[in-house]
Amino acid sequence: MNRRAAAALLSLWLVLSLRANPAQAQAASAPTIKLRVFAGGSGQRPDLTRKLLATYMQRNPGLLIETEAGGASSDLQRQYLSTVLNAKDPAIDVYLIDIVNPAQYFGAGWLEPLDAYLGEAATVLKPYLPAYATSNVIQGKLAAMPAWADAMFIYYRRDLLDKHGVAEPRTWDELAAAAKKIQAVEKQAGQPALQGLSIQGAPIEGAVCTFLLPYWSQGKAFNDANGKLTLDRAVAARGLQQWLTMVDQGVIKKNVAEVKTHDTNNEFKAGQVVFALNWSYAWDRYQQDADSRVKGKVGVMALPAVAGGERVTCLGGWQWAVSAFSRHKAEAAQLVRFMASPEAGKLLAIQGALLPTSAALYTDPDVVQAVPWFKDAAAGVVAGKSRPLSSEYGRVSDIIRTTTSAVLARTRTPEEGAGDIGSRLGRVMR
């Protein structure tokens, strides 16, 4: 090849690479609008989301909605979305986020406020439970729409409690005593590995609630209305000590700092656990999963209190948000309106046992028939507490869960752990 030919080839390459991609131009003129929805991991039931989206597509011809699912836990999903949204990628139009995230995403400018599309926040959120109406409004703007609620409950083996004549415990001490009584007999009867209580102690998002539950139950607030930390270190240390005492009593297993939510699920389903602390979605797993050995033997109740304290639960839940980088924000906002509607909430409650975010659905006859325990759950959800709403939630969550896990692994004492959380968060939550 001579020099002339090489130069010609080079210029040809330059010209070709500068021309716009013809495929892109064509797609823009096509009549269908494509939306891409991130629907969370298997715990968030993307199968049900797909059902709802199929209904929506039937009603809105000209709309093509793709679903994307993944991320085993809330923090892994947050990492994935952070990467996509930080790159200002318009690929995802609508995404599902945990209740703790709207403030952070709003602060980062990743979500499109929905007021302009759906109306004023106060009016739009009126039918929803107070906790969800509050956490989706950031600086007066409608940041996201509640999809379904979640709260922690105690699941228990109704058959074992009946067999041993034990009533539903109302305090953690009663729960420990009941568990010990059942464990002692069952261990003789050939169940040596039977756990009294399963809680999550691995450094995952769930461990934030593991820390907060016994703290809140002693009647203390973690933060004030402005998000400033109001931690009482002595109370926090007592709360952590409660779990360690239960480990010493043999009620909670020794390697609790290794336990993730799916460990609790699998071990409860295998019949190795008497009481399990878990989110509301677990009910369906225990009753419906093919590998569950405890079908029809499960009871569910509100969380016990610390002695002399109040019964309180940790709220979770999921919200639909529209990406600030979406190219079809108006269409995406309408989709979100549908996904947060009572119609969608009813399907999720009946088919997935996911707690509704609107109060009316808890007494809906179809819902009550499908999931009878929801009518008792409503009071717990209303009285439940939210984890701190902070634009720095990533940091807040990491500090709490890492420290809690270290205390449960006994590399820090409860006092040291409470001190670490206090001094580190004191600088973040001001």
Binding site: R3, R4, A6, A7, L10, S11, D75, R78, Q79, S82, T83, N86, Q104, F106, G107, A108, G109, A202, P203, K254, N255, A257, E258, S391, E392, Y393, G394, R395, S397, D398, T402, T403, S405, A406, A409, R410, T411, R412
Partner: protein
């Protein structure tokens, strides 16, 4: 005869000189290189002088060297730096020793060599995060094969299983074991190539002269293998300083932050905390540390060679 019209730039492009053509042909590659190497590093340095907390929503704010002052005071940074250096100091010689053994083994005159070489390649072909997950299972308190073996051998009490990943020292050891397993096959591969370059006649001559096995190893194999060893060590050291996947999947840095490496701290700061400015400063810190270690190391190893 009329004078030739002056050459325009288009004419020059149409019939370029050797030199111009060279520049032209190199330009795309250089541009690409600048885009993927110079731009990110430049951007990193630039970001490290800014307060870039996405959660604040206030936009970038120039803070000069404030981030750097914070890094020097940050106990998390020094803890992660210590862990990273320790992992490097333990796993690089560890992988060299195991890798050398494996390479010598694979170099033996087997009838069929491919199964041995394949077995050698497998750990290297496995993604790092899979390796971490596999070893996390191995060391799991209840379901792990390590505790099961120890109990079967009567070395551990079934009622008090060891909680490998929940004790800082043991968790660190478990991570080092996983890293050595994963990386020694890469070492072995490079060393095997080196071993095969050593002429057989040298060993034959040594045998005639009455040299023992050990003498053959220390007088022939090691000196002849030195260039390969140095290459392998340099590669391994650089990757060891960037350790992320295996501790992340095995312990997530726990218990507490006792097994957190620098790469994990940077990931946490940027992706979880969305603090891009401070994360960039930490990355510059890691870059400087890598630079120091590699420089000292190259000097030492270079002198020895």
């Amino acid at each position: 005869m009329t004078p030739a019209p002056p050459l325009t730039w288009l004419d020059k492009l149409r019939d370029p000189s050797e030199r111009t053509l060279g520049v032209l042909l190199l330009a795309p590659a250089l541009l690409l290189l600048a885009l993927i190497v110079v731009y990110p590093i430049g951007r990193l340095l630039f970001n490290s002088f800014y307060d870039l907390r996405l959660s604040g929503g206030s936009g970038a704010r120039f803070v000069a060297s404030e981030n750097y002052a914070l890094v020097l005071d940050d106990t998390d940074f020094w803890n992660a730096a210590k862990n990273t250096v320790l992992i490097t100091l333990i796993t690089v010689p560890g992988a060299l020793a195991v890798g050398l053994g494996l390479a010598m083994l694979a170099n033996l005159p087997f009838k069929r060599q491919w199964p041995v070489r394949l077995a050698l390649l497998l750990p290297w072909a496995l993604p790092l995060s899979f390796c971490g997950l596999i070893f996390a299972w191995f060391f799991h308190t209840e379901y792990g094969v390590v505790n099961d073996l120890l109990q079967r051998l009567g070395l551990a009490d079934a009622a008090e299983p060891a909680m490998w990943l929940l004790r800082p020292g043991w968790a660190f050891t478990a991570i080092c074991v996983a890293i050595i397993w994963k990386t020694s096959s890469f070492m072995a591969l490079i060393l095997l190539a080196g071993l095969q370059m050593i002429p057989k006649t040298l060993y034959e001559a040594a045998e005639v002269d009455g040299a023992s096995r050990w003498q053959q190893f220390s007088q022939i194999t090691v000196p002849m293998l030195m260039p390969s060893i140095i290459v392998a060590l340099i590669f391994r050291t650089i990757t060891a300083l960037q350790t992320f996947d295996i501790p992340y999947t095995m312990t997530r840095g726990g218990p507490g932050n006792s097994t957190e490496t620098l790469a994990m701290l940077i990931h946490k700061t940027t992706i979880d905390y969305l603090d891009l400015g401070y994360g960039s400063t930490l990355a510059v810190g890691m870059f400087l540390l890598s630079l120091c270690v590699t420089a000292v190391y190259l000097r030492r190893v270079g002198n020895a060679a």
